[in-house]
């Protein structure tokens, strides 16, 4: 594994009050690669990616031990600015969640709160983000339309554009296609393939074929533990652990 590490997770443990949800997780997330996390419901995948930009901080009773290094710096250090961390590590959620405002304002929202007020600059960022999210051609003539009137697949790409607008380095996708039809899913998967040229991507998915199709690395979670991590080709051709084999072949889970 010669690829460069963007994020290194070491002995990460997380509790929701007494519930031990992540157990001694070690994982290297490679730069400009897609890492897929698979595992049965409730195994800690979503909690894990939310730990990568400290989204779990917002939940009461959460306790975290261990380290998550982003470019060598532990994001759980006391002096880390969580807002800039979340700018660097963006997230796209399971259900498209555009703000109830225009397409333009949705994409411009992040840059604006990060202090960009210049209209020309904002227009450039909105266009670039929509182009990179493969949505520009479909919406360029109606940027003032309410984002909630877009189709589900378009809304999800808008959310991706909104994430791209603040120029993150890492994008976390939490089951981004589970609410989408196969065509919209195909578009998001193609997009992920394009995006990895510029960004490091982590995707949580319940769809094993999706993990196999889009990712370079795959990690299998079970009951809060990272059971097996490796190149996707290896995981799907010849997993080393029987638990992984049983899960991906549908014998368990």
């Amino acid at each position: 594994m010669d690829d460069k590490n963007k994020i290194m997770v070491r002995k990460l443990n997380l509790w929701y009050t007494d519930n031990h949800v992540l157990k001694d997780v070690d994982l290297d997330i490679k730069e400009n690669k897609v890492t897929a996390l698979i595992g049965p419901s409730g195994c800690g995948k979503t909690t894990f990616i939310r730990a990568l930009n400290r989204m779990n901080d917002l939940i009461e009773g959460v306790r975290v031990t261990g380290e998550v290094f982003l470019d060598g710096r532990n994001i759980y250090d006391k002096d880390v600015d969580v807002v800039s961390l979340r700018k660097r590590v963006g997230m796209v959620f399971q259900k498209p969640n555009p703000f109830p405002m225009s397409i333009f304002d949705n994409v411009a929202y992040g840059p604006r709160i990060h202090g960009i007020g210049d209209k020309k600059k904002l227009r450039e960022i909105v266009k670039e983000s929509l182009v990179n999210a493969a949505l520009w051609d479909e919406v360029k003539d109606r940027l003032n339309m309410n984002a909630l009137d877009l189709s589900g697949g378009q809304q999800q790409r808008l959310c991706i554009a909104r994430t791209l607008a603040v120029k993150p380095e890492v994008i976390l996708f939490d089951e981004p296609c589970s609410a989408l039809d196969p065509i919209a899913t195909g578009k998001i998967e193609d997009l992920i393939h394009e995006l990895k040229k510029q960004y490091t991507i982590v995707i949580v998915t319940h769809n094993m074929q999706q993990a196999a199709r889009v990712s370079d690395y795959t990690g299998y979670f079970l009951l809060g533990e990272m059971i097996e991590f490796g190149k996707t080709k290896q995981i799907f051709e010849n997993p080393k652990k029987k638990l992984t084999e049983d899960y991906i072949t549908g014998r368990f889970g």
Binding site: M208, F236, E237, N238, P239, E245, I248, T249, G250
Partner: protein
């Protein structure tokens, strides 16, 4: 995930391979027996029976493609399913060689001779094809050593028939067409043994996921 449906397809492929290997092993044995006894009727059964073996191959290919399309198997399931194609291909080739041996009866002179070495090669290679399919279908690793020993014996016999047949060609002019045919038959039998080793090789990959050549 419809795991049971995939298991049913895998079971059907396993059963098809097993039935195909029984037909193939039987065809080799019948071909060599027909040659030994100049039994044209038995030889004809082998020739006609090859069509059934070919049908099995076509049928297994179709089922493999359907299973991949409908169930998207991965890991060991995928190895089993894709390697069953290799196994069926090798069995189909063995079936063709059995037919070639059966057809060679038409080219032998009246009162032709068969070397004991060739009879032995025929019996061993017939067993080998069944044993190799068993390694794959039942993941029976214990057969592997036996298959390799048999292959060594077939190679040894193959080398030994040449001086004898050369001698016959040089000294007994009237027997040279039979001797030439026997050289071909020995080659077919040696190839049958090789195809059986191929099957065992693929079966080992199916079991371990690692390429290990015998």
């Amino acid at each position: 995930m419809p795991r049971k449906a995939l298991d049913r397809q895998i079971d059907k492929i396993r059963r098809d391979i097993l039935e195909m290997s029984e037909l193939v092993s039987d065809a080799v044995l019948k071909a060599i027996t027909a040659l030994e006894n100049n039994d044209k009727k038995m030889a004809n059964e082998v020739i006609i029976g090859d069509e059934l073996i070919d049908n099995y191959y076509t049928h297994i290919k179709k089922r493999v493609i359907q299973t991949i399309a409908l169930h998207q198997p991965v890991a060991k399931d995928l190895r089993f399913i894709s390697i069953s194609l290799d196994v069926a291909y090798n069995l189909e080739r063995i079936g063709d060689y059995a037919r070639d041996i059966a057809e060679s009866l038409d080219y032998m002179n009246k009162g032709y001779f068969v070397l004991d070495e060739i009879s032995e090669m025929g019996r061993i290679s017939s067993q080998m094809s069944g044993d190799a399919a068993d390694v794959f279908v039942n993941e029976n690793r214990e057969n592997i050593d036996e298959i390799l020993k048999k292959e060594d014996r077939v190679d040894e016999l193959y080398k030994s028939v040449f001086p004898t047949l050369k001698n016959i060609i040089e000294k007994k002019y009237e027997k040279y067409p039979d001797a030439l045919n026997l050289i071909l038959i020995a080659k077919f039998l040696e190839r049958i043994a090789d195809h059986s080793v191929n099957i065992a090789n693929r079966a080992m990959y199916e079991m371990s996921g690692e390429e290990e050549y015998l």
